[in-house]
């Protein structure tokens, strides 16, 4: 590469129950003209629908396919990342399409400050029928650089459009596999990663220049379940910090409490606050989190098989 010095980027997508629809995601990623990237698909499906639809890509040297029997988004991502050497890890979901400058913009964002460990971008919604349902999105108009954990409430990006410095992923022992879609605590893996990054002195940058288009349509009645899962995971995350001795994060909780009581929610679905639902899910997650064993040295929940089957 003659434009020497640009960091290598690895894109990781962990997929489950999406069949052949992931092909569109892969195509938009491979259209990126960033000179130094590769793409890894971690296939967590039991059937081979996805595998068959990916056959045409196998010849591409930038493309790698991993079949995995792990469960949960975080476990899939950790597995994918551990198989690569990219200095920057780009994450998106199997139901997103990325822009052609996605990787360039992501790389540029890391140049804003050497201490940036995590970058979040905008998640915009694809065309959909908004009377029938919604697509989860994340949107900001101005970039924001969070430099301490006290600024956590300013950064709430989604892992559907996320970049991580590999060295940070290593020092945080990866994503907590008990958090995130398909895991015991259902959600909260990006919140947890963000907070732990800030606690270890890394910066978190959010910028509208990095964008993906989300196609993950959900009917309105699924909104409650999404919120429930999200707050259940958040509750568990905070219980974990208490068990790990990070009592200071309680102030983040206070700010969240303020938002819960007086402001529109972070995940705003149909402009309905669902206040009681949120509180119940959070408390339940918090209590379950307190009960769950924690590996303090790694800063993770201990993912013992026994516990996982109990909670099912």
């Amino acid at each position: 590469m003659n434009r020497s010095g640009f960091p290598s980027i690895t894109v990781i997508i962990s997929t489950r129950d999406r069949g052949g629809h992931i092909v569109k995601t892969i195509e938009t990623i491979l259209e990126n003209d960033y000179p130094h990237f590769d793409l890894i698909i971690v296939d967590q499906n039991e059937d081979d629908l996805t595998e068959t639809s990916l056959k045409p890509f196998l010849k591409n040297p930038q493309f790698r396919y991993l079949k995995s029997h792990t469960q949960g988004l975080s476990a899939g991502r950790n597995l994918g990342i551990s198989h690569t050497e990219g200095e920057i890890i780009a994450l998106t979901d199997d139901d997103c399409e990325v822009t052609t400058d996605w990787l360039k913009e992501l790389m540029t964002a890391f140049y804003v400050d050497r201490r940036i460990g995590v970058v979040f971008g905008n998640v915009e919604s694809g065309p959909h029928d908004s009377t029938a349902g919604f697509i989860p999105t994340y949107f900001r108009t101005e970039p924001f650089l969070a430099s301490t954990w006290r600024e956590k409430h300013h950064v709430n990006g989604m892992s559907a459009c996320m970049g991580i410095r590999r060295s940070l992923w290593e020092s945080l022992n990866g994503f907590d596999e008990m958090l995130g879609a398909g895991s015991t605590f259902k959600a909260g893996e990006e919140t947890d990663f963000t907070i732990r990054a800030l606690l270890t002195g890394h910066f978190v940058y959010e910028t509208p220049a990095v964008r993906v288009i989300h196609q993950g349509f959900r009917p309105w009645e699924k909104g409650r379940i999404l919120i429930q899962g999200y707050l259940y995971g958040t509750g568990a995350t905070f219980a974990k910090y208490l068990k790990c001795g990070h009592g200071s994060v309680i102030s983040i909780l206070l700010l969240m409490g303020w938002r819960w009581a007086f402001q529109p929610p972070a995940v705003d679905i149909g402009h309905r606050p669902f206040r009681l639902l949120r509180l119940k899910a959070f408390v339940k997650g918090f209590l379950d989190g307190l009960m769950a064993p924690v590996d303090r040295s790694r800063g993770h929940f201990s993912s013992s098989k026994l516990f996982r089957t109990q909670k099912g």
Binding site: F6, K104, S130, Y138, F139, R140, V155, E206
Partner: protein, 303 residues
Amino acid sequence: MIRAAKSALQQTLDAIEVIVVIDGPDEETLKTLLQIEDPRLRVVMLSSHLGAGGARNAGVKEARSQWIAFLDDDDEWLPQKLEIQLQAAKQSSYPNPIISCRFISRTEEGDLLWPRRYPRQDEPLSEYLFCQSSLFGGEGFLAMSSVLSTKVLLQKAPFREDLMAHEDWEWLLQGSNVEGAGLEFLPSRDPLVIWNMEENRLRISTANDWRYSLSWAQTNRPLLTPRAYISFLMVQVSLHAARMREWRAFWSIFLKACQHGRPSLIDLLAYVLIWFIPQPIRRRIVILHDKILSPRWSRNEGR
């Protein structure tokens, strides 16, 4: 210096030439620059010190390409700076555009994103640069390191070489008046340049006297609207005077400004703040303000 040169060579736009102008003989800098092995890099060492304007003109003369961007030695470009600006320049409605972008103003106290706003339709450039509508500064600020323009324009309207300071403002005001030229900003709100103000601040305070700024404004009255002239005195000139704690200037600058009209309320308030609150504290307050009031993110609003 090396950091700046590397950030210019490490651009996503590949087909560029990078010309480093060393302003006056400096063997040591020359030696370090020659260690960078890149055929796109050329170094020009001037035989005598010419100042920022002269050095930039020398670089323009050396340039082979049609488009020219400037980078001061304390500053850095983000990797996509030239690619994004060049694309905008080619689509510009002016044959000789001056393309600018937002930049990070970086000091020990923290980062600020400038300019805070882009020019309003039909707003005179001098008012955009110098008149503020809030007390938080950095509204219409332009750093030379964020500017890209054409060789044609830079030859028609070169930098003044006999100025100790403000040659960049004078060039912007003169250059944007040239037929077929005009200032344009990138639509994106994201910064593409890092302006390391700490280092700039030192340089400015040693080279720049408030009396010099005042006489610059007086000679360039035709380039400034009356409002811009008053604001320039109240803010820019008083910044230098307050930094040097020249209390004698407190009334004289104010009275000079009042000779040409009534300063706005914002100007008056800014004047008091500049004189009575030390710069690092002002900066901290602005950073805090920006962080707290930064536009909120939103999830799920159907975008």
